[in-house]
């Protein structure tokens, strides 16, 4: 390694922090445009759905435990369980399936 690892890390941290900070500083006033407001309203749903699927299927040791965790999460979330319970029971379901398969 020719370059200094710490310089790399500081560059990464600075770039990433600025990306996170810029919109918080630049777009402080409430946006009036209905279109942009609607866009920002939909952003989390699309972003999180895309991040979750299909990645959730390959997150665990095998696809069956991933699929089980996915279905368990869907059912519990649909029934309005808290974040904590959904996450913990999904982990438990993965653990149990992997004991068998």
């Amino acid at each position: 390694m020719r370059n200094n690892v710490y310089v790399y890390i500081l560059i990464m941290a600075a770039v990433t922090y600025l990306i996170r900070l810029a919109p918080l500083i630049l777009f402080r006033k409430e946006i009036k445009s209905i279109y942009i407001k609607s866009f920002l309203y939909y952003v989390p749903y699309v972003t999180l759905a895309v991040m979750t699927f299909p990645a959730i299927l390959s997150a665990t040791e095998n696809i069956w435990s991933g699929l089980t965790g996915f279905i368990v999460s869907l059912i519990l979330a649909y029934r309005g369980q808290s974040l904590f319970r959904v996450a913990m029971l999904a982990c438990l379901s993965v653990f149990l399936v992997e004991l068998i398969i």
């Binding site: 790399y8 560059i11 989390p44 299909p54 959904v86």
Partner: protein, 237 residues
């Protein structure tokens, strides 16, 4: 509610994030060790970055002695999605709160903290996010340390089980509002289907996750905003 109550609520909601982080950063720690980083360097990277995709990519870049500018460009591309998330959050932060809060909140805009905080009803209280950050962020750093110091502190089964926590959380965030809202349910379903296509169609499946998230978000959320504009104060219900 006062600041302390908000902070405590944040701590509580941060527990699943912390556990999920631990599992992901545990894998990161192991890999960082394989790439020749010292435990201090790996933990230092985790404690200053909080970006899984960015950090995994950085290991490869460092090992190949990439240029500093190359590192900066790569990180800004991989992490550009935070820009979108930050735009979305910026509108939710209580405008009465002091300006300096925004500098602290910026440090905690990760996929997971964004997911949990953006879907809270009404305005966002900075102390709620501080609670999330205080609980979740140590999980990221500690997982890295555990991973790099010893790849065998946790049995593989436990790591595998914890790996699903973050995804389960994302589901718990997006499903309840979509219940009884056909537009939102349709948008989520469409996102999942297109995401699946992007994962399997040749050539397109070479697109990195960060870019895929940006492209699909702009296309789908942009299209939805055009077709189904949200009237007024839906968010403040």
């Amino acid at each position: 509610m006062n600041n302390l109550t908000y902070w405590k609520n944040g701590l509580k909601d941060g527990i699943p994030i912390a556990l999920g982080y631990f599992a992901v950063s545990f894998s990161f720690g192991i890999l960082a060790g394989n790439y020749g980083l010292s435990p201090f360097q790996a933990v230092f990277m985790s404690a200053t970055n909080y970006t899984s995709a960015g950090q995994f990519a950085a290991l490869g870049l460092i090992a190949n002695s990439a240029g500093y500018i190359e590192m900066a460009v790569a990180q800004s591309i991989i992490n550009l999605r935070y820009f979108l998330m930050s735009c979305s959050l910026s509108q939710k932060i209580d405008t009465d709160k002091a300006f300096f809060h925004r500098f602290l909140l910026a440090a905690g805009i990760t996929d997971e903290i964004f997911a949990v905080s953006v879907c809270k009803k009404g305005r966002l209280h900075p102390f709620y996010n501080y609670g999330l950050m205080n609980m979740a962020m140590p999980g990221w750093a500690l997982g890295t340390l555990a991973g790099i110091v010893s790849g065998s502190i946790l049995p593989e089964r436990i790591v595998s089980a914890l790996s699903i926590a973050l995804y389960a959380m994302f589901i718990a965030v997006i499903i309840p509002p979509a219940k009884g809202d056909r537009i939102l349910a349709g948008i989520i379903l469409l996102s999942i289907l297109v995401s699946l296509l992007f994962a399997y169609i040749p050539v397109i499946n070479k697109i990195s996750l960060g870019f895929k998230i940006i492209i699909l978000t702009i296309l789908i959320a942009g299209g939805a905003a055009f077709l189904f504009p949200v009237s007024g104060d839906r968010d403040e219900e």
